[in-house]
Amino acid sequence: MRERKPLDPARMDVVIAVLIALVSLTTALAAWRTNIVGSSAAQANRQGLIDAVKKGAAQNQSWRRLYEEAGYTATFAMESAAADAMEASEDEALQAAAKNMRQYLLPSLQLLSEPLGTQEKYLRSDGTYDLEKRLADLEAEDPDSLAIDPAASFELADRYASEQRWLTIGTVLLAISLFWLGLAEILSERGRATNLALGVGIFGASLLFILIVEIAAIWGRGGVL
């Protein structure tokens, strides 16, 4: 019976073929994971833009309401001043008109200007109205919209993108390992062991690299895959 050497070519062929299959599978998995991470980055970017649209719509609504109230408040203030002037005049017709204005027109205008024109907290000492305070209150009325933060989604997307970059490098390393293993399989004589060692070494380094990248990225996202 013929004695088999540890580096028997036939045995090596099988071992290297199994290694190539293993590295191919790992490369495919790494490429899949890289794509998943890329998709997550795209999804986070998309979510960020959706959030920006929602937040913008809510802000626009608040601005619209603010200036609508401000318009009615200004009209109310002007008509109140006009009624004061009418009452102060010696013209009886104007005095009568002022009385009717106070009875019918001004209450309606005041109602429309609520709450900016009616609540003391919005009135400044110089007689103007605190529109910034009213805007803050309007935005606080919709806490869901106020809590929307597109920047958070964009930051998450950037984290995924960073992971995608590093995983790509890992995948490339796996491809290089595959190349060396391929050479080891083809070359049957001198250099085969070196090629095999290089292929296995790069494969191991790639696996370690990908593992570190994944752990760091998942830890950075607070445990989110």
């Binding site: 960020g48 002007m78 005049s89 013209d91 597109p150 964009f154 997307a157 190349f179």
Partner: protein
């Protein structure tokens, strides 16, 4: 060992070394291509985000300017009406129609009260940046409009910068793909150099030339 066999061995080592170099080159290029794509995506996102912010800002300043300008127009109209009624009252007084003149003066005072209250609420008269520098002067509406549109213009400027950045990275990503395609040709030529005998030097040299061209192009892309 005879000399032709030694040459063949050296040549094989040379081709393998070239193949390895090409592989590493392709691997680095793949990484650069992915990086360029990611940067292009980020810049594209930023561009869209700034466009949204600019559009929101335009809507906001539309609301604000509609309010401010309407108030200014009302204030000015009431002041002018008051002035016209006062002038008319003076004319009526001269004509001896004192009762009508008094009524008009009262109405003039009512219009003036509206105008004064409007002025007290208007940014054009309360904000020192826009308020008239002298009594009876006109507010600085140009400064008002410039300040109002500044935020939107800033967003548009950022949007344009992000858009330019997107095009730069997108073009780089496309160029890297082209270089990768050229490296595929180099791989093909190196494969032929290993499998043929008569033309092996020609194929190896061609592969080397292609690799050098790809390297030069990559340098240009990196520097652009």
């Amino acid at each position: 060992m005879n000399e032709p066999a030694q040459n063949t061995d050296r040549f094989r080592v040379f081709v393998v070394a070239l193949t390895l170099l090409n592989t590493i080159f392709a691997a680095i290029l793949s990484g650069l291509q992915v990086d360029a794509n990611i940067r292009a995506d980020q810049a594209n996102r930023d561009s869209q985000y700034y466009a949204l912010l600019a559009s929101n800002e335009v809507i906001r300043f539309g609301h604000q300017s509609a309010y401010d300008l309407k108030l200014l127009a009302t204030t000015t109209r009431e002041a002018q009406q008051s002035l016209v009624m006062q002038l008319t009252a003076l004319e009526l007084e001269d004509d001896g129609e004192n009762e009508s003149a008094t009524a008009l003066v009262s109405q003039s005072e009512v219009a003036q009260a509206r105008s004064d209250t409007g002025s007290a609420l208007s940014v054009f008269y309360t904000d020192p940046r826009y308020a008239p520098s002298e009594p009876g002067g006109l507010p600085d509406s140009d400064a008002y409009l410039a300040d109002l549109s500044k935020a939107a213009n800033d967003f548009v400027a950022r949007q344009n910068a992000a858009s330019d950045e997107y095009h730069t990275w997108d073009n780089k990503a496309d160029s890297y793909i082209a270089v990768l395609s050229i490296l595929a040709i180099a791989f093909f030529l190196l494969g032929l150099a290993q499998s043929t005998v008569r033309m092996r030097f020609f194929f190896a040299a061609s592969a080397l030339v292609v690799m050098i061209l790809a390297a030069v192009w990559t340098g240009f892309i990196l520097l652009s």
